[in-house]
Amino acid sequence: MKKMWLVALHEYRRHVLTRRFVFGLLSVPLVAILFVGLILLVMSLDVNTTPIGYVDRSGLLSNPVEAPKPSWPDKPVPNIAYMTEAQARAALDSGLIQAYYVIPADYQNTGALQVVHAQPVKDASRRAFYSFLAANLLKTTDPAVATRLVEGANVTVQSVDGRRSLSGDDWFSFLIPMIAGIGFIIAMFTSGGYLMQAVVEEKENRTMEVMVTSVTPNQLIAGKILGDTGIGLTQILLWIVFLVIPILIFQRSVEFLRAIQISGQSALVMVLVVLPSFVLVAGLMAMIGATVSEAREGQQMTGLVSMPVWIPYALFAVMMGNPNSPLAMTLSFLPLMAPVTMLLRDGLTILPFWQIGLSSAIQIAGAALVIWLAGKAFRAGMLRYGKKLSLRELFGKA
């Protein structure tokens, strides 16, 4: 047992204390930051703060009140009143305003508006003007009522047993399981890749021959899988830290970040289904490493493991339509597909305990079987320099 932990610790230190690991660790949040930054850049470019003109023939804006301050990333857009359409047109032609609205006399009855622009009015500018109109339509209404009318209802969907609730404000909580699924896949195949490569290298440079005169193949494989799981969990833990820090920093200024919550169901799925699946994949990667003759060949075989893991994302639209459909339920139990399916369903529905339990049992049994097979593959394939291991050899006597 002690030797297994020594192997695990060695594997962990060997990969975690490398530049390659640190680069891999930082690259994911950096890419995410870059991606989010690009989106924010596009959104901010969408905001044109050049004033919008209007010609009011309805009298609604004869004594206008200002629009409420828009929420980020929108910015306030000034409004300029013109007596005549000719004046507004001249201002538009000179570039003083980006567009002007003509509010007809019967606007309050018909809601019809006319807009004149040189370039199409961007969404943020349009929202700003509509907000200005709404504020003036409601200026005689009780402010609390006016706010309710503008913001609409905030419906919270609550499950019958009280285990889950979801409101319009915490839409980000719904995205978290999806993001967690992607993070899980990346961590799983990064650390699994290390494991497979380590096994192939040890075969190639004959370290394996020295190792098995000190530890049993089972101790070796179990230690390696344990170390690999530790590497993956370290990655995930650090990514969570990278995610939580900006959330804590921006929570005060960004409303949806305040509403984020991790449900007990998500935690259960992570511990009972995702973690055993992680071990299962690590076992498969070790088995591939033990059976192939070179790393390149192993990478090709890795595709056979990674493809089923991604399938639930391909079927996401179907699952979104009915997250409790027979298809979604079946995928929830199948090894390799279960972790992502369960994570996606976790964001969409309430998962019955029996489904989490059954899926967990299947993943644990699958992981145990794969570790046993990987041990056999290790024993049979560890000294097959330059030769692949056949299925017959894998299941035969070493």
Binding site: K3, L6, V7, H10, R14, E201, E202, N205, R206, T207, M208, E209, V210, M211, V212, T213, S214, V215, T216, M382, L383, K397, A398
Partner: protein
């Protein structure tokens, strides 16, 4: 008690019988040579001994019984193809391999430092293994094999890649281990070194044992009826000598059947021929190896 005992071991890979009914034993404290041409089945025999492979039939006894996990901590194995982690510093590699043999970290460090200094590797201990030269890696591998002070030492071609100075150092080290009572199994192609170090040998070819026993006895069994004579004088024709071969200042006299070396010595003395050297010509292990592999029986 035998430190190693292999009895009727057989191992087949596919259609190839790599080891065919091999039996031999290595006595405790003995320096034992395992010889054979390439592909003879030596390494497979060693791997069976170390429980890396399971034999198809036969029994293996190591240190007084079947090989257990606990016994592995008392065995030092150095494979022919070197096996060290290439991408970590040497001291960390040694610490890891030592800890897997049951040593605590402080003890591993102390012993590793002693060996590193002896092998002139102390300055390179922080270097990654892959940054070391072939000879240095070879020495590092020897350190990893000896670090836990094994009772049974199995070394496969320990001298390959070493210069004469380091070869001598490793020879001295192996002799020291033997003096401490360590049982040593040496697998090597360098017959002169086997001849120099080993008490007994087994010669395997095509998976079968061809020769087994005490080295001196084997050499006697393969000796021809010949003597080596060192003399500054020109030798006259001698009765009972069938042929004469000159070898670097020494003359090899092949004697006729029934002629004893003693009677030839008497004849040389009687003829007042100055003699600087006179010895019975025993074949070298190299010669025996070639003769046996080519099918000759003693």
């Amino acid at each position: 008690m035998a430190a190693v005992e292999l009895t009727h071991i057989t191992k087949t890979f596919g259609t190839v019988k790599a080891v065919d009914d091999v039996s031999y034993s290595v006595e405790k404290g003995e320096f034992f040579g395992l010889l054979g041409p390439n592909g003879a089945g030596k390494t497979t025999t060693l791997r069976i001994l170390l429980d890396i492979f399971k034999a198809d039939s036969g029994t293996v006894q190591v240190l007084g019984g079947p090989l257990t996990d606990a016994k592995k901590d008392h065995i030092g194995y150095m494979p022919e193809e070197r096996g060290l982690y290439q991408d970590i510093p040497l001291d960390r590699c040694l610490a890891y391999l030592g800890s897997l043999k049951g040593l605590d970290q402080a003890e591993v460090k102390r012993r590793a430092q002693t060996y590193l200094e002896r092998f002139d590797l102390a300055d390179s201990s922080r270097k990654k293994v892959k940054e070391l030269s072939k000879g240095m890696q070879q020495k590092a591998q020897i350190i990893a094999t000896l670090l836990h002070e094994p009772e049974l030492l199995i070394v496969d071609e320990p001298f390959s890649g070493l210069d004469p100075v380091n070869t001598q150092m490793v020879k001295d080290l192996l002799r020291e281990e033997r003096e401490k009572g360590v049982t040593i199994v040496l697998c090597s192609h360098q017959m002169n070194l086997v001849e120099e170090l080993c008490d007994r040998i087994v010669l395997i070819d095509h998976g079968k044992v061809l020769l087994y026993g005490e080295l001196a006895d084997i050499r006697r069994r393969f000796s021809a009826n010949a003597v080596l004579v060192g003399t500054p004088a020109e030798l006259p024709a001698l009765a009972g000598v069938e042929s004469v071969e000159r070898q670097n200042g020494t003359v090899k006299l092949n004697l006729a059947k029934g002629i004893e070396p003693q009677s030839l010595l008497q004849a040389l003395v009687a003829q007042k021929i100055p003699i600087e050297r006179f010895e019975v010509a025993l074949p070298t292990l190299d010669e025996i190896f070639i003769r046996v592999v080519q099918g000759e029986q003693p």
